[in-house]
Structures are given as C-alpha cells and as structure tokens.
C-alpha cells in the first residue's frame, strides 16, 4: 500500500537524478528538471540524493494516501494542501492514512517535487527510476501518472512525532523571481555574427508555449551565423543552447536527445539549471556570461552548503 492518484495533474512523472551511462547508445538521461529541489527534498527526509520523487508540473495532482508516510514538498509553490489546509513546503510533513494531498494556484515556479521517506516501490530500469516518456522507459510504467495509479512505498513510516518544528532555510534555494540565467559560451559561439553575439547577452528572450521536458523554445530577434554550415551530429547536454536555421534558440532540457547537429551558442551553467527548470511558457529570461572556473566555484559552494545542511538535519532526527 502507498498512494493512489485521484487526479493526474498536467504532467506528473516519477524522476530521480537521471539515467547515466547509456548516452552513448542514444539513451537520454531524463531525471528531475529541478535536480536541486529534488536533492533538498530528499535531504529533508534523510533519503539518498538520488531517491525518486514525483515531479508535478504547473497543475499538480491530487493524491490519496492509503498509508501513513513522511513526505516533503519542494520546488515550485503550486499551493499544496493537505485535506484542504495549506501544506507547508521545505520541511518534513507526516501524512496520515486517508489524507488527500492536492495543489491549487501556481504562485512561483513550474515544478514541485513530492518526496517520500524511503522512496516509492518502483523498479530501477537501466539503473534509474526516472521516466523517459517518449521512449516509454522507466518511472511508473514508462509514462506520466494517471488517475487510478497505485504506487506502494518502499518503507513503512511509523510516526514518532506529530509535527516537525523546523524547515530548510529558504535562502538555500534560488529566488525564482530571478530572470538572469548564467551561461558559458558554446563551442560555436564564434561562428555567430557579432550582432548576434551581442544581442544574445543583451536581449530578453521569451519561453514559447511549445516548450517541454525535452527543450525550451525561445523567441526574440533571430540569431544569425556568419555562414550557414552543416554540422555533424555530436553529443549535446542538459542546458545546451542550440540555434536552428530559423535563428530562434532552443535550450535542451532533461529529456533532450543525446546528440544534435545544430550550432551551440551557449551552455547554461549547471548551477542555474534548477532556476531555468522553474521557468515556463511566456516567462522572460536573459543570459549572463560566466567563465568555466566561476561555474565550478558556484557548484562547489552549493555542494558545501548542501553537505552542511545534511549534517544539521541529521541532528534534528536524532
């Protein structure tokens, strides 16, 4: 016994940190779009970072708990409720059997994560529980959750406490009002017209409706190359910003194909992928250039903060 999906929501999938090691066979990584929200949620519950959770998109699901469990909701603020009352985010919340978790208005961000202590009873496929919907691989039956799906917990929760009187410092998570995304120049940056190179870092880009877990299509003034040239397919990654011949960039997201043949003008720094994942259709973004060293230092700083947080949380559970 575990949970039962009462309403599916817009796009509700099971995701962990992704499926690595098979990209050379064309297998996408998939995984949580906002991996940092997932890590924080898992840390709150003392799960391993890579434990799979439920990724909710814009309109969250309604979930019935057949059994008691300790959960944490992180990421976007989609107005989560428990039996009609506000469900506090960024902290452990014991949910009693018979409770109903639901979502309402979208306040900030696009993707919320429901993490379960001990995880969901879903088999690992090729080393991961992430859902790759296009290939119908992994997650819950290779697809997004639907009404009536029942997923068991891997571990029983026997509640010791009625409530937890601590939450994660919200400053650890990026401010979702930020619209500046930090990037490094891409391998073909020099191949773009100097006008395009300039406008890439000064223009405001709009995320189009035609955006999903595979990629975000951006619109602005088209970015032109000095000379159109066919490129050979090569590996691309989460955050690669490719520019097809129409000049409108596409940012590759978690479900991106492993290889691509369009020129890459820039690459989103890993530190800002979670922020980008929380942006959605009609949101505006702009790009700021950073160096490889800066990108690494930002990641290391975050890594150290997360480590500190985990030790602090360990003390709370003692």
């Amino acid at each position: 016994m575990g949970i039962k999906v009462v309403k599916a929501g817009m796009l509700t999938t099971v995701q962990d940190l992704g499926r690595y090691g098979l990209q050379r066979y064309g297998m996408p990584v998939s995984g949580a779009m906002d991996s940092y929200a997932l890590r924080l949620g898992n840390s709150i519950l003392e799960n391993p970072d890579n434990e799979a959770a439920i990724e909710c998109t814009v309109m969250g699901p309604t979930i019935y708990f057949e059994q008691e469990q300790l959960i944490a909701v992180t990421g976007a603020d989609l107005s989560p409720t428990i039996d009609g009352n506000p469900l506090p985010m960024w902290k452990p919340v014991p949910v009693e059997a018979g409770s109903l978790i639901s979502f309402g208005r979208r306040n900030f961000g696009c993707r919320a994560y429901i993490c379960f202590q001990g995880g969901l009873d879903i088999p690992e496929i090729l080393g991961s529980r992430s859902t790759y919907s296009k290939g119908q691989i992994g997650g819950w039956k290779g697809r997004s959750l639907q009404e009536g799906d029942k997923i068991a917990f891997r571990r029983y929760y026997v509640g010791k406490e009625e409530a937890f009187h601590w939450a994660v410092d919200p400053n650890l998570y990026p401010d979702l009002a930020t619209t500046v995304i930090r990037v490094m120049e891409g391998p073909q940056f020099a191949g773009f017209e100097s006008e395009a190179q300039k406008s890439f870092f000064s223009d405001v880009f709009t995320i189009s409706n035609n955006s999903d877990r595979m990629g975000y299509r951006l619109t602005s003034k088209p970015l032109r190359l000095t000379a159109q040239k066919e490129l050979l397919s090569t590996a691309v990654t989460f955050g690669s910003i490719q520019v097809p011949p129409d000049g409108n960039p596409i940012i590759l997201m978690a479900d991106h194909p492993t290889t691509g043949g369009y020129p890459l003008i820039a690459q989103v720094a890993t530190i800002d992928l979670p922020l980008l994942a929380q942006k959605g259709p009609n949101d505006h973004i702009s790009f700021e250039r950073i160096s490889l060293d800066e990108a690494h230092n930002l990641l290391k700083k975050q890594h150290a903060q997360l480590k500190k947080l985990k030790s602090a949380i360990a003390l709370k559970y003692e």
């Binding site: 090691g21 064309g26 297998m27 073909q188 590996a235 492993t258 690459q267 890594h303």
Partner: protein, 241 residues
C-alpha cells in the same frame, strides 16, 4: 564555423586533437572535420580506451562522427586534470590498440511502403533496390537521436532518396529506411520522414538485456533479406536481440 573557439587551458593535445568544454561538466575531444572512416576509427580507438579507464570523476562518454564528449564530475576532477590524463592516453596513438569493429547481421523483410517509390525514383526494379541495399556493409559511426538508433555510413548513392515531403506521424519500431545518403533502422515508434523500404524483426533497443543496445559505434552492419514468413517467425520467437 565548425572550428570551436579555442580555449587552450594551458594544455595542447598531440596528434592535432582539439578539445573544448561543453558547459561545466563535459569535455569534448575533436579528431577532425567531415565524415570519414579514418577519423571515426581514431574516435573508436580512443573511446575504447576511455571505456576501460579507471580515471576517477568520469561519468560517461559519448563518441560521435568526429568527437568524443566526456562527462565528468567537477567535484572530483578539474577540466585541466582531465585533459592531462587524456594527454597521456593520446600521446602515442600507434601504441593504442586498434579498434576492431564487430560485424552484425540485421535480417530485413523488404516490404516497406516506400520501396516502390524508391525503385521508381531511380528507375530501378524493387529487386534491384533490395539487392543494392543488402549488398552493402555499413559502418555504425555513432548512436543517438533515440535509444539504439545507429547513424550508418556507406550506402550506395544509386539508392539515395530524399525524405518524404510530409513525414509520417508514426513509423513502427524496426522500420528500415532511407533519408538522402543515409540508411537506418528505427528502434522505437516515432514520427519521421524516412522512405521506409523494409522491417527487421530484431529489437535494436531491448530493456531486458544487460546491454540494451544491439549495436555499438564501430560495428559493421549487413542487411540480410528475409521472407515475410521468416520475419513473423523471428518476431514471435522474441529474439531478444
């Protein structure tokens, strides 16, 4: 265009191998320009070495036509340290073991809906199209696009045919097609504009196998014509690969 901006990072690689970062968690090695068996052979040679590498901090690698992209964890290794480790590998390419591709046979029932069109387009008979397509041996330059999809090289230009003007909404898994100078097999059902000339009963990507992909980059593929009855037999046998 084509030549990536050069960031030397203080290290140059021997044998005119280029390198550049792809974001903050990947390093790309570049072995040349253009589709060529010789360049791709060097890619394979170095890739197979990386495959058996015990270097900490390597997450995975993706070989392509002329590049190898190495994904690394910046918490374990820096770009420059990774580069110097690679430097020692590629120092003397002749000392690296040569990569020997494996020949793999893919049975094909040439009953695709576009076989007649391809034949007509070139003024050939359907039998001639089948003969030309199945006589060739094709190099798997790389895999990508969808799980298990091979980028094959070496198709006879006598049967090269442009893509369909209106792509099909669904092409079945196992469909064998032609798109321009390329030929390939669809591992999963997907929309597509290829001219479909046949179907294979083999599963190119099989989750029940330890290595789910039938093909590896560097393999040589031969298409073996089979009858529809043989197709059905092989298909119902649930051949694994």
């Amino acid at each position: 265009m084509g030549i990536p901006h050069t960031q030397s990072f203080g290290i140059t690689l021997p044998n005119s191998i280029g390198h550049y970062p792809l974001g903050d968690q990947a390093l790309v090695l570049s072995f040349g320009d253009g589709i060529s068996e010789a360049v791709n052979a060097r890619v394979r040679q170095v890739a197979s070495h990386i495959d058996s590498w015990s270097q900490p901090g390597i997450i995975e690698y993706v070989p392509a036509y002329t590049t190898i992209t190495i994904y690394y964890s910046p918490f374990t290794i820096t770009y420059n340290k990774l580069l110097s480790a690679i430097q020692t590998i590629v120092q003397d390419m002749t000392e690296l073991q040569e990569y020997k591709g494996v020949r793999k046979e893919i049975p094909v029932c040439y009953n695709g809906p576009d076989l007649a069109y391809v034949a007509q387009y070139h003024g050939l008979s359907e039998q001639e199209v089948v003969r030309i397509h199945s006589e060739g041996e094709y190099l798997v330059y790389m895999l990508g696009f969808v799980p298990g999809f091979p980028y094959l090289g070496g198709m006879d230009s006598r049967i090269a045919t442009p893509r369909k003007e209106v792509p099909r909404l669904k092409i079945e898994a196992g469909a064998v097609g032609i798109a321009g100078q390329q030929t390939g097999v669809y591992p999963i059902a997907t929309p597509g504009g290829w001219q479909i000339i046949g179907h294979t009963p083999l599963q190119l990507f099989d989750l029940t196998q330890e290595n789910p992909s039938l093909l590896e980059a560097g393999d040589r593929v031969a298409f073996i014509p089979i009858t529809y009855d043989e197709f059905v037999q092989l298909k119902t046998k649930g051949n694994g690969h």
